[in-house]
Symmetry: C2
Subunit: 209 residues, 2 copies
DNA sequence: CCTACCGATCGGTAGG
DNA sequence: CCTACCGATCGGTAGG
């Protein structure tokens, strides 16, 4: 039993460290930064190679193609969010708490894992089939699941009667606005930002009197 | 006097019709659609020429460069929003009404002028200098002006104490979420969408009891 | 508005 | 991991 745990632990550590230490991990991180900055289509393999510190041709010893890099980034991010919404939805929190938890998770991912999350959100259009369809499907399913949480909240009278898919769109896009905060060098702290966003989304702008 | 008005009218009509009727207008509209769909960098002048129905080389009789097309789109949109916020801020509405008005304007522009607004919002990074700096400056100024409206509302006790720049980011990005609504072929009407968004942003999700 | 074409650059491969 | 190189495609020009 302890042996099994040790194996699992070392496997997960190996996977976690691949991104941090290996050459492929370095390529993926540099690619995320460049795809975010210039876009997937406007980033050349020669640009990327220079950032990594090798020749363009050498990249292909670690990755199969430019598109494979994008696939790795997009599906990594998709998995993170899918895992989280499954956990959250399966918990016994009430609806507002579930939504708050999802929002906080999005905000933290946007801050801590900024480049990858941003690229996954804005550059997935450049995926090739069958990855493109697969990604779009996961996206739709995530939103449906989010909307169904809201609909449950409406049925339980915890939440205003609103169109749930619209609310999901608003929240997911609102959260992606952190991009600009990220660039602006944080006049307020990450925690303040998170609290402000959650308050505005759950309670609105208008002062209750 | 009547002669002057007639001249002004014909000038403004000429300008309005250029987009609708002339070849340059056709190029700009097709380019907006393709830049939105595939991104600026992934759209070739040959793709665009085919959509317009001429050879790639012939495009250059109407426009100077690929980048000039992007400039036309981005600054057109910037002017529309700058004009609107100036009008709105100069009006004698209270703060919540001003914000509601700005939000409704954004939503309508996103629906009625979707392609151009989307491209201006997502592809401006590909502008060349000095247009790039100019555009970024206009963008910052717009957000500052929006934030100052909110701050006035907080000072007047109309609005919850929140970080104004954060609220601006949320609202501007929330509104850009209509993109997905646009694609999903409108299960709810444009008016319902608009009302839902405004309600969620001003009053929040939580049911007041 | 077209034909013909330019130099530059692209993603990727061969061979070592 | 590099040198050398491929065919394809890019934005744009000349000349009519």
């Amino acid at each position: 039993m302890q042996a099994l745990q040790a194996v699992l632990l070392s496997l997960s550590m190996a996977k976690a460290q691949r991104k941090k230490a290996s050459k492929k991990g370095l390529i993926l991180r540099k690619a995320s930064a460049m795809f975010r900055e210039k876009g997937f289509a406007a980033t050349s393999m020669r640009d990327l190679a220079e950032a990594v510190g090798i020749e363009a041709a050498s990249l292909y010893n670690h990755i199969r193609s430019k598109n494979e890099i994008l696939e790795a980034i997009c599906f990594d991010v998709a998995n993170i969010f899918n895992t989280n919404i499954e956990m959250t939805d399966g918990s016994n929190l009430n609806t507002i708490a579930k939504i708050e938890s999802l929002l906080r998770f999005h905000i933290r991912q946007m801050i801590e894992n900024y480049e990858e999350v941003y690229v996954s959100d804005r550059e997935w259009k450049h995926l090739d089939e069958p990855y493109l369809s697969n990604f779009q499907l996961q996206r739709r399913n995530y939103r449906k699941r989010f909307a169904s949480i809201i609909e449950t909240g409406i049925a339980r009278n915890e939440i205003r009667k609103i169109d749930a898919p619209t609310a999901v769109l608003i929240m997911l896009h609102a959260v992606s606005g952190i991009e600009s905060w990220h660039r602006s060098k944080a006049k307020i702290s990450a925690q303040e930002l998170e609290d402000n966003m959650v308050m505005i989304m759950t309670d609105g702008l208008r002062k209750q009197s």
